[in-house]
Symmetry: C2
């Protein structure tokens, strides 16, 4: 248990932007709203998954749609509360906690906005362990939790409650409603028991976002290179240490919108020890694969993050531009995100890549033998 | 009170297609479904508005979307029941009756399908008195009934409950959901008391649809010209007698799809006493205006119906084709549909025509002096 203050949300925003792996949306507006709510209502309790009762009711919360739209169509502020109340009414039961659905990007902040306004605790875990673009791309879905009934709410007081035949139709219908609400809305989905949260969530991701943010913020004063601080911040988690994949200058960005996604690639020309080499990152909202001179270095669902080479803050897909000096790092995903059913939902093939998923620990054995891996990942280090 | 049998629905389908004024959707699939339900469950009770208690709960029912899609994506059959049950659950109360939302076209049939499956009576009245394309184009809306909470249900068991800031947003959101459900869905909206139904519904429209259908069906055996039988069938209702506007041959049809509507016009070359003259009908799903040689003869919300010149069945917008011999008739709308707030929603200006609404009775005074009008329409016959 830990009390989350407005200042903590500054750190969380920095860390969550990195966990957004290029996407997930700028946490800025969400952070301001959550900070205002905490200023008015007091700090929010963050509970470890183990601290919630098995029979508790957990109602995860998020914004749905295009975070860029939020910069022009500002939320009213109590959408998430109305969505929660509608879900409680539908289920005939009060919520005991909320949680993130997505720990990367703006959705790291929304549960704190909701929690501050309702007095609920936030659970330390989420359904993506990073950012992903669709509602069925969640460990909650992979491990059998129904996404419905779900509620989508807008700033005018509209409330749409969705029951669907499966989590794919939930995504399809909720996306349609969100579009008609103007491009973004507040969402409650995957209502579940505390026991189901413990079984299916990617644990500790809020704490990890906070830790990454604090590491970035304090690196210079501690005399640590900020990019190294980010890599070290995930070392003793279920993820494992981040690894520098490349340093370079952005020399090409092709980015276009297809079916509502920001799709494209960026090319980095190597600097320092990477001189003479090229890295290509392909993205679909989030960074999906990283190849150095044609050789695959990392792929989804492992995290591929572009960081500012000086201060190690996230460089998101929409902010990529010619001349930026960036460092590409990889962060291994937890094992709960690498099971066969999980990879069926978000492995390279799910994004159209005809390649197997090879974990970072298996690609960079020497590095991970040196720094160590989580106990359930030792299989990747074998001869 | 009257029992409605499967055979009655054959008549209702004929009459409702005419009340569809070119749109409203072919009642065929809806009729088959309702007839099967009646065959399995027994006849349905049709109640006059005055026969329902003021404090009864009325849940109007309809299909939403493109009736043409229903020919390929056949309903499962119990969508409307699921929608009704979801609405009852949301309201915490069982329904006492259903009613049509739209008496023209396929939506004349849906309430009988629902009523047969649930044992509810159908109320004899609706919210449009004809066919219109959107959910806020209802007397229920014009006279202050909230359209929400509304429920949209598909054939896979998906149920979407909508609460909106107003009836325009209801239309917008429900339309979006219907599109994502594949183009059509079942709808429950405008939940209201029996008192509100009495106050806001266009009364007797189911009976009138039945009467028109019977008139068409029996005209030949009674030795009456079928088109005249249609005109006479509405004479002693709140509408008033239909009037022949033109007889001719279809010589031109321009029809295209714009924003989901079938938009265009048809030109008729006059036959018999109309030889040498042209009639142009402009439509947007439904027929909106009829002009003879440039002179306006009739406009929305008065009903402009194209009938087969031999058998007087409806010729709908999507079936218009070169060479057809048709008779254009006008049917005056009831006064409840001609108030200032009503015309603001569906007068000529609401469809982009910069003309005042002039009732048929005022345009054709001699005809209506001869045949008479409903008592609240006598003002149109003055010197």
């Amino acid at each position: 248990m830990r009390q989350i203050t407005a200042e903590d949300l500054d750190y969380l925003a920095i860390g969550a932007a990195i966990l957004g792996t290029g996407g997930g949306g700028d946490p800025f507006i969400g952070k301001l709203m959550a900070q205002q709510a905490i200023a008015e209502e007091g700090p929010v309790t963050l509970l470890a998954a183990d601290e919630i009762a098995d029979d508790a009711l957990v109602l995860p919360s998020a914004m749905m749609g295009a975070p860029t739209v939020m910069l022009e169509k500002i939320p009213e502020g109590l959408e998430a509360v109305r969505a929660l109340r509608a879900e409680e009414r539908r289920l005939g039961r009060k919520a005991d906690a909320t949680s993130p659905i997505e720990c990367g990007g703006i959705n790291s902040q929304i549960p704190f906005l909701l929690a501050a306004r309702t007095g609920l605790p936030v659970l330390d875990g989420d359904g993506m362990g990073r950012a992903f673009p669709e509602l069925q791309m969640e460990t909650f879905h992979v491990y059998g939790v129904a996404g419905t009934p779900a509620v989508v709410a807008d700033e005018h007081g509209a409330i749409v409650t969705i029951e669907a035949k499966d989590n794919f139709q939930l995504e399809w219908l909720a996306r349609g409603v969100t579009i008609r609400m103007g491009g973004h809305a507040q969402l409650i989905d995957y209502p579940m028991s505390g026991a189901d949260f413990k079984r299916t969530a990617v644990r500790g991701t809020v704490s990890m976002g906070l830790a990454i943010g604090e590491a970035v913020h304090n690196a210079h004063s501690r005399g640590i290179y900020p990019v190294e601080a980010v890599c070290a911040a995930t070392q003793h988690t279920i993820y494992g240490r981040g690894i520098v994949l490349f340093r370079g200058k952005v020399v090409d960005v092709e980015r276009y919108t297809r079916a509502g996604f920001a799709v494209g690639h960026a090319t980095l020309q190597g600097l320092a020890e990477y001189q003479g080499s090229q890295l290509t990152i392909e993205f679909q909202n989030e960074n999906l694969v990283a190849q150095r001179d044609g050789e695959m270095l990392a792929s989804v669902p492992d995290l591929i993050c572009l960081l500012d080479s000086e201060v190690a803050t996230a460089v998101t897909t929409e902010r990529l531009r010619y001349g930026q000096r960036v460092v590409a790092i990889g962060i291994p995903t937890p094992e709960i995100m690498r099971s066969e059913p999980a990879l069926a939902v978000w492995g390279p093939a799910a994004f159209g890549y005809d390649i197997p998923f090879i974990p970072l620990e298996a690609r960079f054995k020497d590095y991970y033998r040196k720094y160590g891996v989580a106990s359930d990942k030792e299989k990747y280090l074998g001869e």
